[in-house]
Amino acid sequence: MSAVTVNAKINGDPVEFVCEPDETLLDVLRNRLGMTGAKEGCSTGDCGACSVTIDGRLTCSCLVLGAEVEGLNIGTIEGMANGEKLHPLQKKFLEHAALQCGVCTPGFLVAAKSLLDHNPKPTETEVRFALAGNLCRCTGYDKIVRAVMDAAAEMRRA
């Protein structure tokens, strides 16, 4: 296998990395770039724990090859807070106790932010459908949905 050199942007910063051609973006983020926010759950695109955005579009980083992102803009959970200042979604997840073990949380936050970027005033049904690609085995989802609805309301007021 011959390694591939890739230039991309992650959370706005230019990044250069070398990866194997069959290595996923998720593995590149975690193992080569030390960005362990995106989690590996299923590796088959079903659980959403590895959610990132590519050129603003939500996707599972386990379903993308590292080599594919040449020249593209990747958004990860590491880019969500502004320094020490948490994003309203992150704050509301804490307030509503919308997590227990926390493995699914980065994926939920990235997916929820992607939803609110496109739809600032979602209904509860829309939130549930938009987050159907993220699995949580702890919370039963209600607290997550409440946190997202509350964050959306707060962001509309801001």
């Binding site: 194997e20 051609p21 079903d46 379903l63 594919e68 690609g133």
Partner: protein, 287 residues
């Protein structure tokens, strides 16, 4: 494994044709990456076609729509004009997977994955879609129903790549719809899927129709008898019953964990009526 990202489909086709080992086309990758990760396939070569501009484009011309092979489900859903012309096709494509999967998955991939239960395929078949294929011997265009030949198998030859899918322009008073049955509300694989496309005359009589069924045979089925059952009618109760009977009669399903043969045969008829009703309402509402 080698990863190549050529700038033209001709170059992509040559790479695939020359490869002595196993070679795969990569567009959205939502099926291929899963197979790669689980060891189901061990490619020697992956050819990413996303750098080829035509594969990323939705174009509307005089004869209809041209949808590039790498256009994602999310992009289809955001194209208001396409959604207006072919709501059933777009809805079907948007049923595939989650938001995350929609960000990557493509109708051409859904077609080439050749699953009998592929959601976009019955809608495409009902729409009369065609696949434009680029290969070592040049270009050819075939009806989409001729692409899958069995579960996981296509009629594409070595070196051939689907460049785009063509959807015809819509005559006045036309509508289409796709419905699937799943035991959940989201993120599931069709137990049965039905695509219906129809055009009415000025009096509201069906003058043209195509009906396709998914997940009830080794490949998606075009069912001419079902179309025949509604052409020349106003989709009254009798025509609806004839449609359902024709659909049920065309099914050649298997028993599996998602449903039994008998269940699939019954549901195919029920869903066909519901999809036809939606297509009819859309045709009446369209100019």
């Amino acid at each position: 494994m080698r990863y190549e990202r050529p700038n033209t489909l001709q170059a992509a086709s040559q790479l695939l044709a020359k490869e002595k080992g196993s070679a795969y086309v990569l567009a959205g990758g939502t099926d291929l990456l899963v197979r790669l990760r689980t060891g189901f396939v061990e490619p020697d070569l992956i050819v990413d076609i996303k750098r080829v501009a035509v594969t990323r484009t939705i174009a509307k011309g005089a004869t209809g729509w041209k949808i590039g092979a790498a256009v994602t489900g999310a992009e289809l859903g955001e194209n208001a004009a396409l959604k207006k012309a072919w709501p059933g096709v777009v809805e079907a494509a948007n049923l595939i997977g989650s938001k995350q999967v929609q960000g990557r998955c493509t109708m051409t991939g859904n077609l080439c994955n050749a699953s009998p239960a592929a959601d976009s395929v019955p809608a495409l078949v009902a729409a009369g879609a065609k696949a434009v294929i680029v290969g070592p011997k040049g270009r050819r265009t075939i009806p989409v129903e001729q692409v899958p030949v069995g579960p996981g198998k296509t009629s594409l030859k070595k070196g051939e790549i689907i460049e785009s899918l063509l959807l015809p322009a819509r005559p006045a008073r036309s509508g289409d719809a796709y419905l699937r049955f799943i035991p959940r509300t989201e993120m599931d694989i069709a137990v049965v899927g039905v695509g219906v496309s129809l055009t009415l005359d000025a009096k509201g009589v069906v003058k043209d129709a195509r009906v396709a069924l998914g997940a009830v045979a080794p490949t998606v089925l075009l069912v001419p008898e079902a179309a025949k059952a509604i052409i020349g009618t106003k989709l009254d109760a009798r025509a609806m019953d004839a449609l359902a009977a024709a659909c049920s009669a065309a099914c050649k399903p298997i028993d599996d964990k998602r449903g039994t043969k008998d269940y699939r045969i019954k549901v195919a008829g029920v869903l066909a009526k519901r999809a036809a009703r939606i297509a009819l309402d859309r045709a009446k509402g369209s100019k």
